[in-house]
Symmetry: C2
Subunit: 253 residues, 2 copies
Amino acid sequence: MTGRLAIVGLGPGPDCWIAPEASAAVAAASDIVGYQPYVDRIPERAGQRRHGSDNRVEIDRARHALIMAAEGRQVAVISGGDPGVFAMAAAVFEAIEAGDPSWRTLDITVVPGISAMQAVAARLGAPLGHDFCAISLSDNLKPWAIVERRLRAAVEGDFVIALYNPASKARPERIHQAFELLRGCKSAETPVAFARSVGRDDERIVLTTLGDAEPATADMSTLVIIGSCETRFIDRPGKSPWLLTPRTYGAGR
Amino acid sequence: MTGRLAIVGLGPGPDCWIAPEASAAVAAASDIVGYQPYVDRIPERAGQRRHGSDNRVEIDRARHALIMAAEGRQVAVISGGDPGVFAMAAAVFEAIEAGDPSWRTLDITVVPGISAMQAVAARLGAPLGHDFCAISLSDNLKPWAIVERRLRAAVEGDFVIALYNPASKARPERIHQAFELLRGCKSAETPVAFARSVGRDDERIVLTTLGDAEPATADMSTLVIIGSCETRFIDRPGKSPWLLTPRTYGAGR
């Protein structure tokens, strides 16, 4: 049997956000490869091998998956969210680019999923309702200078900003530095949302403003959204406000 | 019965990309509201009312949905892709902000979906594997000057760029203007993808470079991806190359 490799997005957490194509790709696999907590989300099935690994070994995991596919296995590399957005797709194609030329002949598919910023936006209202950008604050693989350059560019373009990987134990200071930079060039009234574990039991959302935000609210399970000049709260009685970035721009100015 | 309104993402086309939460929200609705081609995608069901409308009447459609929800109906406003990304969520919350204060007490949920850029990225490899931005080229509701400002900022930040709504019959020149701007400040070798109707029968993908791209390739069903300085093709025998934006930045320079 010819080997295959599917890079599959499981969405941000609950099964209700896993697209049928992703469920089918997981069900069809002989081998499930992924970060252990994602592997744990897949029900065990007789005859299906499970290869859970630690975080921050994405390239090793990708190579392992490619080797198995080259041996004729049906491999599903699973990813939280969308594999194409700060997840496993880039790691697999990096491994292919640098690896055995025969890997380029493999049958490889990417199965998209709902990414964290979309689940967060859905909870909040419509904060991504206009042009936006997504930036990972991790500087494991890129210099911090490019993160700062992108944050400044995002302000210059007045994009709504979705920050992935805002903090980890190894680099707790980055989110503070990012907020310091943003406070220097955006209004203190800019709406900010910290959204942790959206869709899971420990979901926690904090709505605030750039001036009042406590950056330490963010941990590695948090996605942060920072509004554009147009983003605003819509108050409602007895509940948290909604967050809206309207489709119009500059209408009131 | 208390009225409810769900703003539901149907993904870019095929049923295999519709998350179970979205299918359930559609099934539970008494009334389906949406752009006619999206309504046509929902199987007819006895007792369920269907309210298809024309394009570019998003606010009227949102108000109609809110009025029905306020009357106690179970309304699903359907959207292609993700309702939070250049789709119906912003229109509904704009209507709420400007409308009857009682609408703020309605039970409103947003059901996320896979957006076009994610389906396109999945087809291409991993073009969104690093920081990226999403820009709508439509200037129906925003001045063209802000689009140009955002394109320039996207270049300054070296983001991968996903262009939504690149062209329509009413404004065929905008995509040409966008490419002219980008050609003035990005390498001619920058990878570019035009992806039309991904996931549907008339899917068509053109891979090229910024220097060689023919902007008229884009129509209103096309999503355009323009690489960062790091985005590159991975050649493979007998097939279109993959497109990769790696997770590392500046490693070779």
